[in-house]
Symmetry: none
Subunit: 184 residues, 4 copies
Amino acid sequence: MARPTTVARVLAAALDLAERGGPSALTMEGIAAEAGVGKQTLYRTWPSVHAILFDALVTESAAAGASESHATTFDVLQSTIAELTTEPRASLLRKLAAAIHSDEAIARQFHKRLFLPQQEQVSRLVAADGYANPKTATELLLAPLLYRWFLRLPQFTDSELRDHVEKVRHLERLSSTNVSGQYI
Amino acid sequence: MARPTTVARVLAAALDLAERGGPSALTMEGIAAEAGVGKQTLYRTWPSVHAILFDALVTESAAAGASESHATTFDVLQSTIAELTTEPRASLLRKLAAAIHSDEAIARQFHKRLFLPQQEQVSRLVAADGYANPKTATELLLAPLLYRWFLRLPQFTDSELRDHVEKVRHLERLSSTNVSGQYI
Amino acid sequence: MARPTTVARVLAAALDLAERGGPSALTMEGIAAEAGVGKQTLYRTWPSVHAILFDALVTESAAAGASESHATTFDVLQSTIAELTTEPRASLLRKLAAAIHSDEAIARQFHKRLFLPQQEQVSRLVAADGYANPKTATELLLAPLLYRWFLRLPQFTDSELRDHVEKVRHLERLSSTNVSGQYI
Amino acid sequence: MARPTTVARVLAAALDLAERGGPSALTMEGIAAEAGVGKQTLYRTWPSVHAILFDALVTESAAAGASESHATTFDVLQSTIAELTTEPRASLLRKLAAAIHSDEAIARQFHKRLFLPQQEQVSRLVAADGYANPKTATELLLAPLLYRWFLRLPQFTDSELRDHVEKVRHLERLSSTNVSGQYI
DNA sequence: TCTTAAACGAGACGGTACGTCAAGTCTTCGC
DNA sequence: GCGAAGACTTGACGTACCGTCTCGTTTAAGA
């Protein structure tokens, strides 16, 4: 519907504002002004600021990430941390995260479009590593990262992250033992 | 500064609105109208909606919780989940959580006034249980709960929660073994 | 420039909208949508809504009126009233009348293309009736009609109109007497 | 409701804009900006631009006119013409007149608050002059003035106006004769 | 007991952003 | 390659809250 150049200008403006003005600058009016675009053009294509942010994030991922194949669980988590803390992505994510708490639909979108891909990457590696319960292992691996990001605590350093991965690995080996006899 | 009856009316109004209208109804104007109070009365006592919410949450805790002494780690986590999902507390927490993402000061307040008490309760029990690293154990226990709340995933059922606690307990026993030699 | 079918569709759409939606529905966008035509097609042929309305009025006159030869002054005034009060012409005229007050050019067009013909028809009859001052007589005859239409007062009934015409006729006879001696 | 100083600023701004920018500048946003006032302040007191214009006109009348007692019919009509042609009143009236054609409620307000007082002044003088039908005489006197204003024709000069008044006076004397026998 | 200063309700105020509508211009694509 | 469809910028609409600021009016304590 919208012309490609217009879309590009809008998403670039969103990224710019995220980096320069912080999350509170990410308003429909602000983006329109920054992009040199009418408000109606925004509303014609995106129903809300959040929709723009999703597109901006996806675009930015496509541009930046460009599918590096991560070798290890550690690498994926490390790059997840990078995503959560590097601007402008961090600002966009914060803004979306705020919206998650007022609108369940946005929560679903966030989960599906932004979080699941990350999660599945971890899951695949975890499964390849022979964990007994890849699903819970993935949660145990990722949850503390998100927990620290959400509460704005200091993130894992590389060595802490390494320990964290090791710990969960051992846990899962233990679990598999458990399942096979000791506790059932 | 403010009269006790006024404070009570305001906090009650905040709780009412949280339950009835969802997080988006929690505005200064809405609370003032609901409480039958002038806006300036609100601003005289609280600098922002968030400050009111903190007070409302603390008050509600005092009224409801009234310091049950939880015997086990499981019980504490179970009641944490209840807090995260029972109205009106859930709505207030969502609203605050949203603000966390736009204001670091609120994040600190949230962490200090609402989250740390919970965390320390867990920590004490965990330490009493003889975990080698109570701090990381606490994080491993709590993070998945918050993770699911944040992403609005289905929360742990009682049996899942029991498994989760067991898993972390074994992990920490293993870790302590590790530390003493096997893996280093 | 525009194809005859397009022109017809546009003018028909204008008449339709005038009848159905009242004067506020007569916008470029509305007419384009109603006619199933791009906006640029409108602007290519007509510079403004008003231009379309003029064309629609002229077309409608041609279709409806088809030049009945009115015998008497009374008949002409009666049919003038009918024009001012019968849809869809009434709505188009109201819309144009509104524009008269913001744009002098439209006032001139209105006067020249829509009002003068009416006026001259009256003038001819009045002159034929032997009035001393056909010009002022015409004004005295027409002004009250327009005055009532403009202020949305109840229009002349047939008998009131008959009295009105009689009164002006006598006035003019008196005037001619005056002119010939009594007051000069 | 609104504070007197605010009202004064708003009405002054409306008069200023009418004089400087023409009728198209008389928008809610424009007035708010010119008056240095929030839009909500306008909407709190007046439902529309037109309501502001009515107030501005009434205020301006009160300030300017200040109840000159007109001696003669001619004087009243002369001052009516002045009102219709002197800025900023002329611009405000044009703007209102435009609205009359899209909204009947405004027509009623216009008639009641702005036109009737004028009309009654004429009526009183006409009745004092011993006209047989003061109501129709008033209409005959005023209609041509409004007619020329509406169609933006040149207004009556003083001498034309004098003739016009004389003519209607004679007409009415004739009418009274009629009524008493000749034509009934 | 009376006064007096504060806290109060009410809500006007200047702002910012919302989401919508129409104006008039510019671009793309199908016939 | 012309013209219909419609995307574009602009600007006004009317609304919701923001945080500040008067207003009188309680209300509670000290004189």
